[in-house]
Amino acid sequence: MSQNKKLIDEIVEYIESSVREGLDEAIFIKEFRNKIEKYLGEKQQ
């Protein structure tokens, strides 16, 4: 759950900064996927 919380916080923070800085969808998609994949990678360990 703490891991979840960490990811949620990370994503929310990223969303907010992306919106703040003017959302670039292409970059957001790429970065969002990276975060999910990284999380999955950690789960794979």
């Binding site: 891991q3 979840n4 670039d24 994949e37």
Partner: protein
Amino acid sequence: MKAVLKLVNIGQREGEETWEFNSGVVTEIRGRTASGKSRILKSCALALSIPINSEEIRNTAISFGIAKADNAIFSPLLNYNKEKANIELHYDDVKKFIELNRDGSEKINIPGNQKFIYCSMLVENSKIQNYIDHGLSDFSWIVTEMSLAKDYESIEDIVGSYSDLITAKKEEIETKENNKKKFEGELKKNKTELEEVIKKIGQLEVNIEKELEKIESNTEMKKKRKEIIEEIKDKQRLNSDTEKKFLSLKKTVNDLDKKIKENKNTIEDETKNMDKLEQEKNDYMKIDMSKLNNEINQLHEENEKNFEKQKLLLPEISILENHEKKYEGILRELDKTKETKVICWVCGGKEIDRNDIENDLKSTQDELTPYRKNYRDLETQIEDNKEIINIKQKEKAKKANLPDVKKKIELLRSKLIELAEENSSKEEQKNKEDMEVKKFTKIIESRKKTINQLVEKRNELEKQIIDDTQINKTREETKKQNTKKGAIENQISNLELNIDDCKSIEILKQEFDLLKAKKIVQEFDEIFTTINSHLEKNIKEQREGAAHKFNKNIEKIIEELKLPKFEKIYLDIEDNNKLKIIRKGNPNPQAINSLSAGERVIVSSLLQISAKETYNPEIPFIVGDDIILKMDNERREIFYNYLKNIAKENDWFVILTRVTDEDLIKEEI
């Protein structure tokens, strides 16, 4: 402040041109139709808005002739004869530079704000104007597009796609779990079936072995059977020959027996004949010839005498018979006449009485009878004697036959001896043949017994001999079971593969076992739910905030413009941000399509300025292209005054175009 717009090869104008504008005032660009007024506004808008990422805003920019359409080769602002065009906009400390190339490429030094297209361009075919013109009340798009809600919505879509992926994975996991259970059940069933089939095949193979052993012994038994059959045939053949001989012998015996019996009968008959002949011979031997001759002579003499006696009787008889004839003749004549008396026809004249005649006849006949009797007695005597003579003559003749009889007797005796001898020989032969018959009978019986025993033995063997087709059937069944086994093994292999496949799942190119994946999916479900809640909250806040701000600005503008007919114009947050127009004296919302043409221009301009003030205030430019065309003088004045106010109040550059009969000119008003 001052803004300098430097254009090179923009629109129909080739070469460089420079336009300068002051903030805080309204600048009007006037000129004839197609004099190049709009391209100045469009260049300004392009410099302030690109890059345009939103598809909807881009489409609007394309419809304004600002942005390049997807199917166009180059920007609509590039002069047809030139390879490139430049736009430079300097204001405050901002220095924007855009290069438009013939190959469609664009170069920009500082990005603008795409919202400028929706909010800061007062044009006839703006999206706000179109909605109002078409009587559409749903303005939720403006609060979404113009606020950060749009970005949050975009992110919501991105997160949603992952959320959908996770939902799909969840379903996939569930399907795989169900399939795994199903496949495991099938696998268990197949394995049990396989065990049964293997067991069956094992049993069949044992059966084949047994049957093979039997077949091997079959060969022996078959050989033995053949031998027995041959032996039976031999015995039958032998018996057949023996029986032929037996029958022949039997026939011979029968013939002999018959012959013996015939001979016996002949002997018997001939013995009788011989006895007769012996008797005859004895009889002949007893005959006395001289005595016979005497007797014959005596009889002849006696007959001579009798003849003489007859002769003596004849005259008397003749006379009496004549009388008798005469009387009978008379009586016949009398019978004819039926008279009792007639005249004698002999003597003529003498009468004849019937009674007399009858009496005469009777006395004649009485007299004649003893004569006749004597005569006949003599006659009988003569005949009898003759008979005796004949007999005696015959006896005499027989005596003459005596030598013949003796000869016959001798012949018969010889014959009887011969027959007796023959019979004796035949009896002897018969006895001999009988012995042979008995011997053959015994042989035949013995052989028959042997044959029966052999047949029994053959039948017994035939019972023991197994039909070869049985093993073929078993082999066929084994083949069938092996095929079945192969099919089950394939099924098992497939099921195991399927089960393996069900054991893990791929999530974003990473493989997880089902249990882990289930947990991850659950976690992501929670993660995305939380993120979505955050996004939804932000979207709502953004929309509400944007709508609230928008409404507040509208209220301010209405107040500043002092529009006499409208009480309130606002986006109804409670009703999905629908535009509501309340006229003075009527609390009910006014239908948009009931607005007059002039009212529609006023309302849309009002909303446009509100959008500008609300969503795009950081860019100090408003551009308007022929927006006052449809306004009456009164409204035009009010609107112009308002624009002057906000230009002054915000220190904005307000640049408008207007069609006139003049050459292209710029003037602050």
